[in-house]
């Protein structure tokens, strides 16, 4: 037969529109386009194998992201092995006033800051702040509790700001302290 779609074509019609999202997240996670491409291909091969378990009408994008992190875990065992046992040491959670961020943020500066984030934090901030998944969806995708999602997210955002701080201005501390007290 010619016209009718094959199963592969059905799968492609449902899954390939999300390739862009999968690839850019893989690229953000691995900071490497070639590895991101391999990982994306692998995600689609595995998604195809389990396509029979996918329920039409459910969230295909979330399903693919879940597979992305499964495959990432498989590919680079070390990726998540760098467990943040000292997560608490990394940043104090007490509220602290931060110096301002640079006036202009270049693409390179932002990518550099993302690159310096611990991987677990990078995953959360990419899923929540870029791909706009809910906390619940992020928790399901990464298989971690909601509370962990939220604390990692706020730390990730703070670490990013720290990397992008305006070093010139941070010397003018006196200007800020007590500034609101007037």
């Amino acid at each position: 037969m010619l016209g009718p779609k094959t199963n592969v074509a059905d799968f492609e019609a449902v899954a390939l529109p999300h390739l862009n999202d999968i690839f850019r997240t893989a690229s953000g996670l691995l900071c490497n386009r070639t590895e991101a491409e391999d990982l994306s291909q692998d995600v689609y091969m595995h998604a195809w194998k389990s396509f029979h378990r996918f329920e039409p009408g459910t969230n295909c994008r979330a399903w693919l992201f879940k597979i992305l992190f499964h495959r990432l875990h498989h590919h680079r065992r070390k990726w998540f092995q760098l467990k943040l046992t000292k997560e608490a040491d990394l940043l104090e959670d007490t509220l602290q006033w931060e110096p301002p961020v640079k006036e202009q943020l270049s693409d390179e500066e932002i990518l550099g800051a993302l690159d310096k984030l611990p991987e677990d934090y990078r995953a959360v901030v990419l899923l929540a702040d870029v791909e706009e998944f809910s906390y619940k969806e992020v928790a399901a995708t990464l298989d971690i509790p909601m509370g962990t999602v939220m604390s990692r997210l706020s730390r990730a955002r703070r670490l990013l700001r720290e990397q992008l701080r305006d070093t010139a201005q941070s010397y003018g501390i006196g200007k800020i302290v007590g500034g609101d007290a007037s």
């Binding site: 016209g3 390939l16 390739l19 291909q41 301002p100």
Partner: protein
């Protein structure tokens, strides 16, 4: 760490802790009002909020600007088909077509160097057409005898609107015979697809709708050749050649294993007729349906059975 001490104001301490949640729209209405009231009067918290927004926006901007590697969709399509054995029926040739599709990396004259990564490279677009040719036509996705025109015009195949491409192709490229006219699905896109042959040489005339923002590179040194006011791009990959151009809503491709110049000449001959046929389709007129019906009724089309030489 270079952290600044918190200002004494208790309102600041409270609001400062809410800024991220405020940005994400997670606060109760009442708390939002409190935050807004404080922001009105506090420069420091306003600055802190602006910083958070700036970093989030910047991150989105940078990550969302990441573009797909050239031909990745096609490579995935080829791998999927390789895994499932789809399309490997009746292959006429022992061409390692899967391999060709899997390494689809086109060489295109000129353009790429002057275009930044964010602009869609010509090769990326040409890869769509060549990918369809390799996966569908070279994959043997067609019947042993050519369909009659009514079958081609069937909505399950090319559909009446696009079926006019078949007589146009047979007229312009008169040395070729019809193999198949259908719509196929590769890489998540649908291609109205005419396959012709001369002996064992297959050529594809295929088209695909442009998605938002997809366009060939513009500008003087884009590497294209002007034919009938159209920029026609060409490229090759191993043994395959492809040439393509854009109409208002479609990319049109001619692909084959002919040398690049010969393949390009075939595309050149298809430019005026294809543009003409697509114009009313793209303007969503109903005219082509009646045209094809009239043409069918005239009985000027006699399908020939494919004969191997």
């Amino acid at each position: 760490m270079n952290v600044v001490k918190f200002p004494g104001n208790q309102q600041c301490v409270k609001v400062y802790g809410y800024l991220d949640s405020y940005l994400s729209n997670e606060l109760l209405v009442e708390t939002t009002h409190d935050v807004l009231r404080h922001l009105d009067s506090c420069t420091e918290c306003r600055q802190a909020l602006a910083d958070r927004q700036k970093v989030r926006d910047g991150l989105r901007r940078v990550v969302l600007a990441e573009t797909l590697p050239i031909g990745l969709e096609t490579r995935i399509s080829a791998k999927l088909r390789e895994q499932t054995g789809t399309n490997i029926r009746r292959a006429w040739f022992f061409t390692p077509w899967i391999l060709a599709a899997a390494c689809l990396m086109l060489t295109v004259a000129g353009s790429s160097m002057i275009h930044r990564q964010k602009a869609m490279a010509a090769s990326q677009i040409l890869a769509l057409g060549l990918g369809d040719h390799i996966i569908c036509a070279m994959g043997g996705h067609y019947p042993p005898t050519p369909p009659d025109m009514a079958t081609v015009a069937d909505e399950d195949n090319m559909g009446a609107k696009y079926a006019l491409l078949v007589p146009a192709a047979l007229k312009q490229l008169s040395q070729f015979q019809l193999v198949e006219g259908h719509r196929c699905h590769v890489g998540g896109r649908t291609y109205p697809h005419v396959i012709l042959r001369q002996g064992d040489m297959l050529i594809s005339l295929s088209l695909v709708e442009r998605k938002g923002g997809e366009a060939f590179p513009q500008g003087l040194w884009n590497g294209a050749t002007k034919i009938d006011g159209q920029n026609v791009f060409q490229g090759h990959q191993e043994n395959y050649s492809v040439a393509g151009f854009a109409t208002a809503k479609h990319f049109v491709f001619v692909s084959s294993a002919l040398d690049e110049q010969t393949n390009f000449d075939l595309a050149r001959r298809m430019v005026p007729a294809t543009t003409e046929i697509l114009r009313p389709i793209e303007a969503s007129l109903r005219k082509p349906v009646t045209m094809v019906l009239a043409w069918l009724a005239s009985g000027s089309f006699q399908p020939e059975a494919v004969s191997h030489r």
